[in-house]
């Protein structure tokens, strides 16, 4: 059995058939996971200025760039092992660098609330064993974390939910479109207008305290009733809801406070984003957007998006992410104008514009370690395929040694 790193569910019941140092067949992983486990078609090679180089020289040059930079940033981390992340934080400290991860434009704010215990959270195993009401809000788990409903929430039989989805559980979807998750929730799908989440939360909190909502009163009252009667409820907060309510997370806290039997779980995409948030939080009290100086300073200008907008960084180390594929186009020209060091197993859009590329082993397949599941549980990753690549952890250690 191995662990899948396809998403933050880190399914650890996967079987593989290995042939000629490659995974030939994957059993039990979803399509997304199987594709990830089979590895990339286009392996990254070490290079400097787009010219092939040997790995030692690439590492030395990377260290030199970071050392000479006035304001370097270390970014990515959501597809790196906990061990690599902790090395990354050490490196940032040593360089007095900015460190940020993908959560700064994803679920960071929500995870911070969870770590600060502002929400009642629970584990996915609790959800499986106890939950009777499941609310997918702005989340299409069925497509983003494909085994969420089958492994943990709606379909499985759990300790106190022996009759599974047929009788023991209700799944609800609140979304702006009828996603695949909403299709499963059928009679309990609440379609809301774009950016309508805030208003819906307010109507729902009103309904919970007995006020009749102005719009769609019958259905919102019905939803409030289901939620009130829940023995063990879970709200899975997707990126749709997070983007829609922006910094106004407190209204979600208020909703949570009105529902004493409910638990709030942020839906995380990349396999170890939560791992990075937890590690940095432990070190600094913040989950992202930190600059190390004599102390750790947390400011919005240290978010990758802001830093690129303000052109305030002069070197970027990227690992465990492909920012070029997801950042707004307007920032890309600046990104391409500064030295970028890319550590990745595969050729990515970012690696194509990078000054230095350093190939790494595929974590969870070619190198082991650990990662934190979306609910905070630490899961071991195994390195099962023999290979000659350095693990991202080792590459970061080597860069540190070179400084």
């Amino acid at each position: 059995m191995i662990t899948c790193t396809g998403c933050s569910l880190l399914c650890d019941d996967i079987d593989v058939v290995i042939e000629n140092h490659r995974i030939k067949e994957v059993r039990n992983a979803c399509r997304r996971g199987a594709a990830k486990l089979k590895g990339c078609r286009n392996r990254l090679r070490p290079s400097i200025d787009q010219t092939p180089a040997d790995i030692d020289t690439s590492i030395k040059r990377a260290a030199l760039i970071l050392k000479n930079a006035r304001s370097p940033m270390l970014y990515g981390w959501s597809n790196s092992t906990c061990e690599a992340q902790s090395n990354g934080i050490k490196l940032a400290k040593k360089l007095n660098a900015i460190i940020d991860d993908t959560s700064s434009f994803c679920q960071g704010l929500l995870i911070e609330k969870v770590l600060k215990k502002k929400f009642r959270a629970c584990s996915l195993d609790d959800v499986k064993n106890k939950a009777d009401v499941l609310v997918y809000w702005g989340s299409d788990a069925q497509d983003s974390q494909p085994r969420h409903l089958s492994r943990f929430s709606y379909f499985p039989r759990g300790e106190s939910r022996q009759r599974g989805y047929e009788e023991d559980r209700i799944a609800i979807a609140i979304d702006v479109r009828e996603s695949n998750t909403a299709k499963i929730c059928k009679g309990h799908f609440y379609r809301i207008p774009l950016k309508g989440d805030r208003e819906f939360i307010l109507s729902l909190t009103g309904a919970l305290s007995g006020k009749v909502p102005k719009h769609d009163a019958k259905r919102i009252l019905e939803l409030a009733d289901i939620m009130k009667k829940a023995e063990f409820g879970a709200i899975f907060v997707g990126i749709g809801l997070t983007y829609s309510i922006k910094d106004d997370v407190d209204i979600l806290v208020a909703l949570g406070d009105m529902l004493p039997n409910f638990h709030i779980l942020p839906m995380v995409g990349h396999y170890n984003m939560r791992g990075f948030n937890e590690a940095l939080f432990k070190e600094t009290g913040f989950v992202n957007r930190v600059r190390f100086d004599s102390t750790a300073v947390h400011e919005n200008k240290y978010a990758i998006v802001e830093a690129l907008k303000q052109k305030s960084i002069d070197a970027l180390l990227v690992t465990g992410s492909d920012p070029l594929s997801c950042l707004p186009g307007s920032m890309i020209s600046y990104l391409a104008s500064i030295p970028v060091i890319c550590i990745d197993p595969c050729v990515t859009l970012t690696s194509k514009i990078s000054k230095i590329t350093i190939p790494s082993a595929v974590s969870g397949i070619e190198s082991g370690g650990s990662a934190v599941r979306m609910d905070g549980k630490v899961i071991e990753l195994s390195g099962i395929v023999e290979n000659n690549y350095l693990a991202d952890t080792e590459i970061l250690s080597r860069i540190m040694e070179e400084l």
Binding site: D13, R147, F155, G164
Partner: protein, 152 residues
């Protein structure tokens, strides 16, 4: 899937009974439930019905891969989410601690398993839609939002 009427319209409509059914309509029903093959209608083999025969065969093509229970898995639509693996009552009964609780199947008695990200059906005779006491079970169709499982 085509309707009985669509199939019927393409038959000779002479009720000649050569296929063993009492009417062409009955033969159309038998075609749809895969109890009869197009070739059992001997008149349609004739050249004058060539176009109708080809149309019939193309309409029935999607169901040609169906197993004895009539199940077709459209692998191109499957996301490997395992909802069917966990929801199928046969899988739950045969593997209560594995598939039944959301995990990977722990034995070979299950109907559904996911290989290379796509569902594969085996032990099809265990399916509740098969055999003497068959029931019209929808437990694997309902949890699949992409419509990857179909019975014909």
């Amino acid at each position: 899937m085509p309707t009985v009427m669509e199939l019927y319209k393409l038959l000779p409509k002479t009720n000649c009974k050569k296929c063993g059914e009492s009417t062409c309509m009955a033969f159309a029903v038998a075609l749809l439930s895969r109890k009869k093959k197009v070739s059992e209608c001997t008149p349609i083999i004739e050249e004058m019905f060539k176009k109708d025969r080809e149309k019939l065969e193309s309409l029935l093509l999607p169901s040609s891969g169906a197993g004895e229970t009539g199940m077709i898995v459209h692998t191109e639509l499957c996301t490997g989410c395992s909802n069917c693996v966990v929801a199928c009552p046969v899988d739950v009964a045969n593997d209560p601690r594995g598939a039944g609780t959301g995990g990977a199947p722990t034995n070979d008695k299950v109907i559904f398993r996911v290989v290379d990200g796509k569902v594969v059906a085996s032990n099809i005779k265990e399916c509740r839609r098969f055999g003497k006491n068959r029931v019209l079970c929808y437990a694997c169709i309902d949890p699949c939002p992409t419509g990857a499982i179909e019975f014909v």
